[in-house]
Amino acid sequence: MTPDVAIAAAKVLFALFLALQVMGLGVFFERKVSALIQDRIGANRAAIFGFAGLGLVNTLVADPIKFLLKEDITPAEADRLLHFLAPCASLVPALATFAVVPFGDVLEVGGRVINLQGAELSVGLLFVLAMASLGVYGVVLGGWASNNRWSLLGGIRGSAQMISYEIAMGLALIGVVLTYNTLDLQEIARAQGRLVWGWLPAWGILYQPLAFIIFLVAGVAESKRIPFDLPESESELVSGYFTEYSGAKHLMFMMSDFVEVVLVAALVTTLFFGGWQVPYLGRDGFHFPGGATLGLPSLAVVVLQVTAFALKVIAFTWLQIVIRWTLPRFRYDQLMRLGWQGLLPLSLANVMISALVVLLVERGA
């Protein structure tokens, strides 16, 4: 009983650790990549004993210390309890979703076969959608509890946007479920290890390209990143729903923003890019299509898989950051029109076409 509990705790902690490290990297990338795109150097002044580390010290050491030491102001007429809980309500569902993201195949140690996924739920994909639905509360409560016109407006806009794009996200996922016939993320990642025509890894993007695009767009809209960041638009609403937040609570809102970026990246890799799959790597080593094999111990395989997963997640985080600093912001009615009149019919069409193709393939086989 106790070794099982310890192993489960270790898996969950590792998944969280991975998520938070990539989030930290994401914050650093944000600063540096935005600086590169805007032809400037970026923050590089804060230094420890003269070591500035290209701005790493500034972003990862000085900034968090600054946030934590700032005065924590709650507006006079604001609702204290909800003002305090809103950042938590925003961060916790985003972090909880990492429990179902698989970061490796299996680790065989001491006679045990450990499935490298925080929690093995048979309804993993629906758990992801459930946590996305719960993330709306942080926005709407934060906006309302600040007792501020701009915050309320930002909060209502943000939550309306989130619930609109949740629908497109869910429908895009149905196409994936039809293809892989399971809701468990680990099974979906495993199923992408097959080879099509003997040499092409059967990653999700081959079977569901439209769903990938819809999911990526809906995911970026869900996390309220530019080009969908009207709820927190700095030029219009001061800071939208987190205007009245300072210090640690502001840090939590910013953290939840980046954790959602990493989450969208992790989900896109798991569903469409093979997750932890390294092409031609099986549980006991490489099996190249020509017939050559390369045997590897189980631990080396796991390290390769976890590294591959981390690299893919970092790549998609980088992609979202580049998108942020390249595109202008959508107007609110354009945003809603895209969600309801663009992505929703597209994802419905995707579901119908996928179902038709699956039916024909099954009938033909």
């Binding site: 309804v123 509360y137 939550s159």
Partner: protein, 164 residues
């Protein structure tokens, strides 16, 4: 789920439900409702109904209560009632309610024969099992429900539209 965990969760659910009904501010009632629904979802997981549990969070806690919160906030319905029920009517309802609860619980517990240990088929509570039941025996109610949802959408949009 051991008896201790059940009692703890049941106490939390009842506390949250009482907050929904008793708290003067509707926003706090809505937040307490979310907590109640989430805790009920935990009970569903313990009762081998995983799909229903997740659907409860997605549909109830994640959509219906958000709708409530929208309406409360957009229309600023946070004023408490001017004349809250107090005095004799409150005592009457509370006593009557208490008696009703006791009667309900006693009836339920007396009439239900303690069942034996159930033999659950493999995959009980799974998506596949629910889907199989839903699309064979309950196909007609399923199709009628989709019509019902369409009617509800049209009705809601029509009722809430701003008349020019």
């Amino acid at each position: 789920m051991s008896a201790l965990i059940f009692l703890l969760l049941a106490a939390l659910v009842l506390a949250a439900a009482l907050t929904v009904v008793v708290h003067p501010s509707p926003v706090y009632s809505a937040c307490a409702l979310v907590v109640t629904l989430f805790l009920l979802s935990v009970f569903f997981v313990a009762l081998d109904a995983q799909l229903v549990a997740v659907l409860q969070v997605i549909v109830y806690a994640g959509a219906i209560v958000v709708l409530f919160l929208f309406v409360i906030m957009l229309l600023n319905l946070t004023q408490t009632e001017p004349r809250p029920t107090a005095g004799a009517p409150l005592v009457a309802v509370a006593v009557g309610g208490g008696v009703a609860v006791v009667a309900l619980v006693a009836t339920v517990l007396r009439r239900v024969a303690p069942p034996g240990t159930p033999v659950l088929p493999a995959g009980f509570g799974d998506t596949a099992a629910l889907g199989r039941r839903l699309f064979t025996a309950y196909l007609l109610p399923f199709e009628l429900t989709s019509v019902l949802l369409l009617v509800a959408i049209v009705g809601a949009v029509g009722l809430a539209k701003r008349r020019p």
